[in-house]
């Protein structure tokens, strides 16, 4: 049992060492950004990866369903620009939404602000998920 535990620990450490190479590290972060949870799945953290893969895109879809707006990159209005950066954090779903012309936002909708909150927060949470994947890949966790 102890040997099995040590073997699983060493394989995790090996994955972390492999991830510490700059190219692989960048690929893990890019994958984690584009597909929420992909970085964790890549590094063998299946449970965490699956939760992120389901929860974050679900939040993004709920945000769109609640008439939220995907903000444009207008840095003349700093809060709009920052919200746009936060929205982009979710990765591929953001690009799909743009292609489908979703996320126009309905200001008069009662749920407009809720939608914005879901869209912004899911992007910001994915930034944290990317940082967590980075730490795992560096062998810090």
């Amino acid at each position: 049992m102890i040997l099995g535990w040590m073997a699983s620990k060493s394989s995790t450490a090996e994955r972390a060492r492999a991830g510490a190479e700059p190219g692989v590290l960048a690929a893990i972060c890019a994958a984690a950004w584009l597909v929420p949870g992909a970085g964790h799945l890549w590094l063998g953290r299946r449970q965490k990866g699956l939760v992120f893969l389901l929860a974050l895109p679900a939040m993004f879809l709920i945000g769109l369903a609640l008439d939220g707006r995907i903000f444009p990159f207008e840095f003349s209005e700093p809060l709009v620009g920052l919200a746009a950066v936060a929205d982009l954090g979710i990765g591929l779903p953001w690009f799909f939404a743009h292609m489908l012309e979703a996320g126009a936002g309905v200001v008069t909708s009662a749920t407009y602000e809720y939608g914005n909150t879901f869209l912004i927060v899911c992007g910001l949470l994915n930034f944290l998920v990317i940082l967590d994947a980075f730490d795992i890949a560096m062998g810090r966790k």
Partner: protein, 57 residues
């Protein structure tokens, strides 16, 4: 769905879930932290809502 409390609870659920999974490795600890966070979100919303009840004055 325009029920503000339900939407707030849904938001609290997702944020608690992601934070709990991020911050803890053991499933039991994840459930414990997630439940505590969710409860704190709901309690804080109720308390703040109650405090804001008289506004606008």
């Amino acid at each position: 769905m325009t029920d503000h409390f339900l939407l707030m609870a849904l938001f609290a659920f997702f944020v608690s879930l992601v934070f709990a999974v991020l911050m803890r490795d053991d499933v039991r600890e994840q459930v414990r932290l997630g439940s505590m966070m969710f409860g704190a979100f709901i309690a804080a919303a109720l308390v703040l809502g109650w405090i804001m009840l008289p506004f606008p004055l």
